[in-house]
Subunit: 151 residues, 2 copies
């Protein structure tokens, strides 16, 4: 028998819900993707994403407010503003990589052009998947949800 | 100098954009999270998430249409419908885990109640992060984006 009250409590505390408030929106995510690929200026985001200026302006403001991007004067031209990923923003990389991998496998037609590699070996990074403490991949059947109190 | 045309082409083909069309919406993601935690019936989703019936109905239909959930007659009561994750849906686990980890670290106040463990050792799974082919974590400075053609 499913304990609905326990599930409700769990979901109320769920950090996914909180995270989605911040980054779950399509344009916000595409702006982030651009930032991870080296875009910094309003005009770059605008022309690359083909996003309406008022929406871009709104989403950039929200990402700054949520401390995922920060605004800085561009060192090359102090009148221009440059957007940079904060540590909180940079820490979204695993989310983007997982989502991209899933999209490549199930949604789009084939792999995308850019690949993240280990700088030292030039080999592509491993696939994003659940792993044990030693870094070995775990299949679905090897996983189990438990209550933190049971650990 | 930033090659905007190349970025534009890249983003056009980006599988994240495609993936977000399917699962980037807040309620869709929370429904998925419920499904990963064992919810199967309309009423369970409804009472657990506190979502309006028409929105729930719409989002479930979209997830079925996108082949992330499938509808099946409930074996216990053939008049009832049960929703189950497809392989495509189950494959979203790394996305949910990465997003949850980020949310726990940066957004919500502390870790959530449920933990995913290695069934054999009862140890929590490792953190979701970029790793080399041998499963060793790679820090930001060890990573580099390259064009697939350069591999």
């Amino acid at each position: 028998m499913l304990d609905l009250e326990r599930h409700r409590e769990m979901l109320r505390n769920c950090s996914i819900a909180a995270a989605l408030e911040t980054v779950g929106e399509r344009w916000s995510f595409l702006i982030l993707r651009g930032a991870f690929n080296g875009l910094h200026h309003f005009e770059e985001f605008q022309s690359t994403l083909g996003i309406a200026r008022n929406i871009l302006s709104n989403r950039l403001a929200r990402l700054v407010e949520n401390e995922i991007l920060r605004r800085e004067p561009d060192p090359a031209d102090r009148r221009r503003v440059a957007y940079h990923l904060t540590d909180k923003g940079l820490d979204l990389l695993p989310v983007l990589l997982s989502l991209r991998e899933w999209g490549e496998r199930w949604v789009s037609s084939g792999p995308s052009g850019q690949v993240l590699v280990d700088r030292a070996t030039r080999r592509p990074i491993a696939s994003m998947q659940p792993r044990d403490a030693d870094g070995h991949p775990l299949s679905r059947g090897q996983l189990e949800w438990v209550d933190r109190s049971e650990l």
